[in-house]
């Protein structure tokens, strides 16, 4: 059995008692079911207090109040009424003001002297319905959009290079909006590697999280090769970021991007708090005993917190030419998670990319392996490499089919050690 119909709770912020009486009469006299419940406050400060108590479905706001005037009234209230539609009721018939209000997220701008009961009731109902639909759309978008956290088992595993390349490949493969966000408080190399000159960082987003909208957000990010990139504030500053605010920023970004790639740097306690929104986790390690040991610990920490083991993938980056790689099957057995890729040692190619501030070349084995990871993450089949259809090749060339060589042993190793791995 259904409960009683929900009556919309309207908060009127208006310092003129005569106009408050008018609105009360209009909303009382609709005769419509379910009708309205009206609360009235006569200042911005009291409106903010009332909103904090919750239960308000929509706000009717006069811009001229004893403690605030003009568009500032709307902006302040909107920052405190996240998720609640606001209709401005103004005595001023000002088209520029009306446009500004709508651009800043207002549902509507009604001029008091020409407002009628029918107009107000219709606008309230439409605003609430529109808002409800937007909320549902966002929820659907949240389900479709993914957040990928790239974490290093320790420093020097190449986490940033992997994160940048993965983001570029996801952008290329899915042909939808992708964000690369640098949340590494120690290094913040993404800004350097991707050539981001913006002075804005994730810290600016976190400190203004209550007033984030798509326009404001676009002023914070930099577009690099079709990717949106937001940099870390850098060493010594990032540590002051409030994890709860950063989490809200990630939640906001998830609505806008099919993929949000987070470079978290090496695993630390503060990273764990940021994994709430992550749908996928890639842990980057090297082949060295020390790094593998840290990776083992990191997986236990990750899986002991809020992360499901199924969401964690291990990526082994072969950064030291001299290290003998362990077979993939042994690694999977040892770690109990999927090994999604083994990146070959390509010191010269990565050094060259670093100097030119470019991602590893499309033709590099590093890049094609990361492309494979991107396709796996997207649920696409890994691209078959040339030679992976030996039957056809041997048919065309008349050559005998060769026995496939284990991937671990096909990794090319050349050039000097790269400084690109961050």
């Amino acid at each position: 059995m259904n409960g009683p119909p929900h009556r919309l709770h309207v908060l009127l912020v208006e310092d003129d008692p005569d106009y408050a009486t008018l609105v009360q009469q209009w909303l009382d006299g609709t005769g419509d079911d379910p009708g309205f419940v009206l609360s009235w406050t006569d200042s911005l400060s009291s409106a903010v207090s009332r909103l904090a108590r919750g239960g308000i479905d929509i706000v009717l706001l006069d811009l001229s109040l004893p403690d605030s005037q003009g568009i500032g009234t709307f902006l302040t209230l909107r920052s405190r009424s996240s998720g609640i539609p606001v209709i401005v009721l103004s005595s001023a018939d000002s088209e520029p003001m009306a446009l500004q209000t709508i651009r800043q997220g207002g549902e509507d701008y009604l001029v008091k002297s020409t407002c009628t009961r029918e107009l107000l009731v219709r606008n309230i109902s439409h605003a609430v319905a529109r808002h409800q639909r937007q909320t549902e759309t966002h929820a659907a978008g949240d389900a479709q959009n993914k957040v990928l956290a790239v974490i290093g088992a320790k420093g020097g595993t190449g986490t940033t290079t992997v994160a940048c390349t993965l983001a570029a490949e996801l952008r290329s493969q899915c042909d939808a909006a992708v964000l690369l966000a640098d949340l590494d408080p120690d290094a913040g190399l993404i800004g350097f590697l991707m050539g981001v000159g913006s002075r804005f960082s994730i810290l600016d987003a976190a400190q203004n999280v209550e007033r984030l909208d798509s326009t404001f957000w676009e002023s914070l990010v930099t577009e690099v090769g079709g990717l949106h990139v937001i940099r870390s504030p850098g060493l010594g500053v990032a540590g002051y970021m409030d994890p709860a605010s950063v989490l809200k920023v990630i939640h906001f970004a998830r609505r806008l991007y099919r993929w949000t790639v987070l470079d978290l740097g090496r695993l630390r306690n503060s990273s764990l708090a940021l994994l709430d929104n992550a749908t996928e986790v890639v842990l980057v390690t090297t082949d060295s005993i020390a790094s593998l040991h840290e990776a083992k610990n990191a997986i236990e920490v990750l899986c002991g917190s809020a992360v499901d083991r199924e969401r964690v993938r291990l990526l082994v980056n072969h950064v030291d030419e001299a290290t003998e790689p362990l077979p993939t099957s042994d690694l999977a057995k040892l770690f109990g998670v999927e090994v999604c890729a083994r990146l070959p040692y390509e010191g010269a190619a990565l050094s060259s990319a670093l100097v030119e501030r470019k991602l590893p070349a499309e033709s590099s084995a590093f890049r094609s392996n990361v492309k494979g990871v991107a396709r796996k993450l997207m649920g696409l089949e890994e691209i078959k490499r040339r030679g992976a259809i030996p039957g056809l090749v041997s048919f065309l060339t008349g050559a005998k089919r060769r026995k496939p060589v284990p991937r671990e042993t096909t990794i090319a190793s050349s050039g000097a050690s790269s400084g690109l791995n961050a």
Binding site: D16, D18, G29, S90, S91, K112, T114, T116, R117
Partner: protein
């Protein structure tokens, strides 16, 4: 809706029916509030309190037409404007026009009959 009728003293009377959705008593109470607010407005003009006059005009501009008195919205806008530029002569002129208007306007029932309790 506005009606004009000849009054006993020879001046035109403006009769206003409540707009749809507003009871007679509410509209009549608003008109009474406007009349009560006239003296404080004149006092404010006398002491050059432009802030008070500006808020008074702003409120009247917003409410008047919605209660069925478009003339009050126009006068309110003029008072607000005069207060903003601190024009004492315009403020006094507006107050005089407002006083005259408030003296001639009356609220009638939906049947168009002037009520005794107005």
């Amino acid at each position: 809706m506005l009606h004009e009728q000849g009054a006993a003293n020879g001046k035109a009377r403006i009769l206003v029916q409540p707009p749809d959705g507003l009871p007679y008593k509410v509209v009549a109470a608003y008109l009474e509030n406007c009349r009560k607010g006239l003296q404080p407005l004149k006092d404010a003009i006398g002491r050059a309190d432009y802030e008070f006059a500006g808020v008074y005009g702003h409120h009247m501009k917003g409410c008047g037409a919605a209660y069925g008195f478009p003339q009050l919205t126009e006068t309110g806008a003029s008072i607000e404007q005069a207060a903003r530029i601190r024009n004492d002569a315009d403020l006094r002129s507006c107050a005089a026009a407002l006083e005259e208007h408030l003296a001639s306007v009356e609220v009638v029932g939906r049947d168009g009959i002037l009520r005794a309790d107005c």
